[in-house]
Amino acid sequence: MEEKIILLVEDNPDDVDLTIRAFKKNNITNKIIVAKDGVKALDYLHGTGMYDGRDTKDLPVVILLDLKLPKIDGLEVLRRIRQDELTRLIPVVILTSSAEQKDMVEGYKLGANSYIRKPVDFEQFVEAVKILGIYWTLWNETPTSLNR
């Protein structure tokens, strides 16, 4: 069985470390690819730039997407993912600090599968990561996973 990859799009190194830590604490051992901006995330998915030559059929099982990103912001990354035939079916979970209504509405409009606001309390964050990790990597079925 191929490894189920989680793509974490996050520019804040603290948040990257804490998210990875939370996954580990929950014994979620999937390979986590970290993209530090929107361009790198799209490069990974399309096998371009620093990911030139990557097998693009090898899609992540879920994308955890921050909204406030350098270069191309999260909502724009989401728009492009949904426009591309290859990537449009990948589950995208928005994982952000923002609780702005307009971000939430815009995110769902663009086809986000879930919207989670990162809590300040780390224990709550660990709990949230546990639930979403188990749900998206273990329970959720997607056409992409069925193809395997």
């Binding site: 603290d14 948040d15 804490l18 830590r21 702005e100 209504q101 809590p119 309390d121 224990e123 964050f125």
Partner: protein, 516 residues
Amino acid sequence: MKIQRSQADITERREIEIGLEKTRKDLAVVKKSADEAREYAESVINTVREPLIVLDQDLRVVSVSRSFYEFFKVKPEETVGQLIYDLGNKQWDIPKLRELLETILPQKTTFDNYEVEHDFATIGRRIMLLNARQIERVLGKERIILLAIEDITERKKLEEAHSKLAAIVESADDAIIGKDLEGTIVSWNSGAEVVYGYNAKEVIGKSVSLLMLPGHPDEYKELLTKKSSGEYIKDYETQRRRKNGQIIDVSLTISPVKDTSGKIIGDSIIARDITEKKKLEREVVKAKDAAEAANKELEAFSYSVSHDLRAPLRSIDGFSQALLEDYQDTLDDTAKSYLDRVRKATQHMGHLIDDMLKLSRVTRSAFYHESVDLSTMVRAIFEKLQQNSPDRTVDVIIREGVFINGDPYLLQIALENLVNNAWKFTSREARPQFEFGTTVKEGKTACFIRDNGVGFDMAYVDKLFGAFQRLHTTFEFPGTGIGLATIQRIINRHGGQVWAEAEVGKGATFYFTLPG
């Protein structure tokens, strides 16, 4: 001799006869011409439209014109031979008429345009203009008086109406200008003098283009060709130039002026100086733009507060927790308690940021109006709290069917805050009791939420609704001090009021009114 005499007699007699005949003929001629003269005079009298009356020297009526009978509704038999004052049941006993006939006329023999106003029983109040002639008839030395009467009642009324209108035009604050079809100014009131700075003498006879802005000399022509003839232009806003060169904003109403045959001979232009109004409007727009810009800035600020300020808090909390977990063997208890404090403070700051954002959101969010079921809302909030604290046993009384018109999103936040407050401040009660209901306060229906918690001292009630104000320490009861400020803003946005009554140790009741 006798024959001679006879002959002489005959001749003389013949001469007498011839003379007599001539005299007779002459008399006939005279009589004829006298008759002709009388007929002539009478037909003149009867042809004149104005009532005419002829009096003898004793002021008795000799004759009157036909129009006199018609006008004054009197009959010939009660007129001719009567003293003028006795006419129509003594209706003509008019002091001013007596003065004319008895005092003025004997001295002047002719008097024109003598105005008399009198209330006649038959024809009502009339204003008359009298022309009188006293004619001396040499033969028999008899005087007659001719009195021509002109009824000017209607003309007077028109004149009065006209002068009233003229006074209105003259006293109006608006410029009222008349112009002919060629665009030449024909009238100019004092309002126009104030608005435009020119006096009437300076502009009458000149073209209205004098008032136009440079580059727009034909604005009236363009305006008037746009409308079909005979139509009004109402409240058309444009600009004009005053005598001193100052540009002013004006609102124009232009209406066609017609002659008696209905032909359009020009336009009347009413111009109101709206420079001040326009200035205010521009200021309002400017203020609105500024408010919108400030609001946008606030939004951007709130956005970065929610995003950027929370991110480092997560790091502080997350890595403190990591230290506690990964180094629990090497950290002593003091170090661990410090890290606990760091985490508590971090989390409290997280709540502060969240509540601050909520507070700003209730002020700037869009406002919707719909019917909201407060009873159901309150019950759902209590149920959620009960689920989160299953070990608490509480009594909740909720009045059913309390509907209100308002914004459901904002009311949800307000009620959550109120109920959470009650829940929090009853946490030390053995048997917490809550009631949601309505009551009448000062003639208005007020909703209330009552609890039997710790209450508060009414001496500090003024501080209750201020942002970041707290009546309890965070040690006693956790909180940020923003909840009640948020409630107040929400109720205020609905145009309602919120207040509280409490006693230390006996609970608190929060009331709010929501008009509509």
